[in-house]
């Protein structure tokens, strides 16, 4: 299907040029990175832009780096690059794990993690891992820089707190001071490539603090302070985990749609929560466990 209307295209070489273009066109501009969501949207004609600003020429947005105790993931980092990053494999395995479950290789070679959270479609895979890691989104505009904690980033399905003249430069993840391990669970109709019907992210710390996030079971992905506080107060005994599992009914309210019913989603969130918690517990004890599934990706890991 051809895109039935015309628009301009600019490929700035620097961040400054990109910001100036954004300031000039404001809400009539759209940022183009991987384009896997954007080109579909252009075909459907939801929002007709005046101009696309292709940021792929801005090299400083391509980095994955560890700066002091912060992990930084640039706006142009694709899911394939996440799967080849030793830094992410070693420091934010849950993100690495989720990246491997995004669509298929041909999409991952192009789609960016930042694009995923900017499109903010409810079934995205990046949100739960970033939520449990307390990630921060870094924005820039002609007015200056702004940081938004991921918990305040999502407004609604496909809506974030980004302003029309802003550009996300990178996402940062603070590296916890204590030992930690995460696990991501995604429910799909078939493996290989599918959107999530529901997903759960768990990050477990050595002091038994637990961060839990649920995705694709509401308009926006969410952490659950209720469950986290319960586990913090009562520990990780089988009884408490059962109590937390039952609490899920009160903290999420999934809908029935073409991909799954609300009952199925709710049931599977309970199952996936326990699976993720068990996996995280096993990983925190034996970190080597984590590479079993992604052996091919491990072979290709590169040191940045």
């Amino acid at each position: 299907m051809a895109i039935p209307y015309e628009f301009g295209y600019q490929k700035p070489a620097t961040l400054q040029e990109a910001i100036a273009l954004l300031a000039e066109h404001d809400k009539n501009a759209r940022i183009l990175a991987g384009g896997t969501d954007l080109v579909n949207e252009l075909k459907q004609g939801f929002r007709v832009p005046e101009i696309l600003i292709d940021i792929k020429g801005i090299t400083e947005l391509k980095n994955i780096q560890l700066v002091d105790d912060q992990l930084e993931i640039g706006a142009l980092v694709t899911f394939s690059e996440i799967l080849h990053s030793k830094i992410l494999h070693d420091n934010a395995y849950i993100l690495f794990e989720a990246a491997g479950l995004v669509a298929s290789n041909g999409v991952r070679n192009r789609a960016t993690m930042v694009g995923n959270i900017c499109s903010a479609v409810a079934c995205m895979d990046s949100a739960s891992p970033l939520l449990v890691h307390d990630a921060v989104i870094h924005l820039i505009s002609s007015q200056g820089e702004r940081n938004v904690p991921i918990q305040k980033w999502f407004d609604d399905n496909r809506k974030t707190t980004i302003r029309p003249n802003e550009l996300v430069t990178h996402v940062s993840i603070p590296i916890p001071k204590v030992k930690y391990a995460g696990a991501y669970q995604k429910m799909m109709r078939y493996s290989g490539e599918d959107l999530s019907q529901a997903n759960v992210g768990v990050l477990l710390f050595a002091d038994n603090t637990v961060h839990v996030a649920f995705g694709s079971v509401g308009p926006i992905p969410k952490r659950s302070p209720k469950i986290e506080n319960l586990l913090k107060a009562k520990g990780l005994s089988a009884d408490t985990i059962e109590e937390a599992k039952q609490m899920i009914e009160k903290v999420i309210a999934p809908i029935t749609d073409v991909r799954a019913s609300k009952e199925y989603r709710l049931h599977m969130c309970k199952v996936m929560f326990v699976r993720a918690l068990n996996t995280a517990q096993a990983r925190i004890k034996k970190p080597k466990l984590i590479t079993k599934k992604l052996h091919y990706e491990k072979k290709c890991l590169q040191s940045e």
Partner: protein, 152 residues
């Protein structure tokens, strides 16, 4: 219209492109390269797969204007001098019936084998995921690639 210059199957091509044209449309309708197919037109089926700088991508989700300066390979390039050894393996295993998914399958396998010459069955499944086949299923594809890597 903007002039784009890129390498297509080892030939330098320069062509005037509108920003609203997808790479798939330009390859098929302006450059006569017909191996990438338009299946779902939304990145799910893999029929439009091409390699950009060696990586498999969905050409229906890329604007042609984005590929300025890139190196693009399609099945036509891979089989320039007759069937490639990988294609011969596919042929021997009767992998395809209608052939619509063939370019995507072969290009995805080409990308995989370049990075990982001895993939496991799991690696192969992961690499060809997102290339939908409605005729023969996926087993012959996996067998052909495994067989090819054993001969190697």
């Amino acid at each position: 219209m903007k002039k784009n210059v890129f390498s297509l199957n080892d030939e330098i091509r320069s062509i005037y492109i509108n920003p609203n044209e997808t790479l798939l449309e330009v390859l098929r309708d302006k450059l006569g390269v017909k191996s990438p197919k338009c299946g779902c037109d939304s990145g799910d089926c893999g029929a439009c797969t091409v390699l950009i700088d060696g990586k498999s991508v969905r050409s229906c989700l890329i604007l042609a204007i984005e590929v300025d300066g890139s190196t693009i390979s399609t099945l036509e390039g891979i089989s320039k001098d007759g069937l490639s050894p990988l294609q011969k393996a596919f042929h021997e295993h009767n992998v395809f019936q209608c052939g619509y998914c063939a370019p995507g399958m072969i290009l995805s396998a080409t990308e995989l084998l370049k990075k990982n010459p001895h993939p496991s069955e799991h690696d192969i499944k992961e690499a060809i995921a997102g290339n939908l086949c409605r005729c023969t299923g996926y087993i012959p594809v996996i067998e052909a690639i495994l067989d090819f890597t054993k001969k190697d």
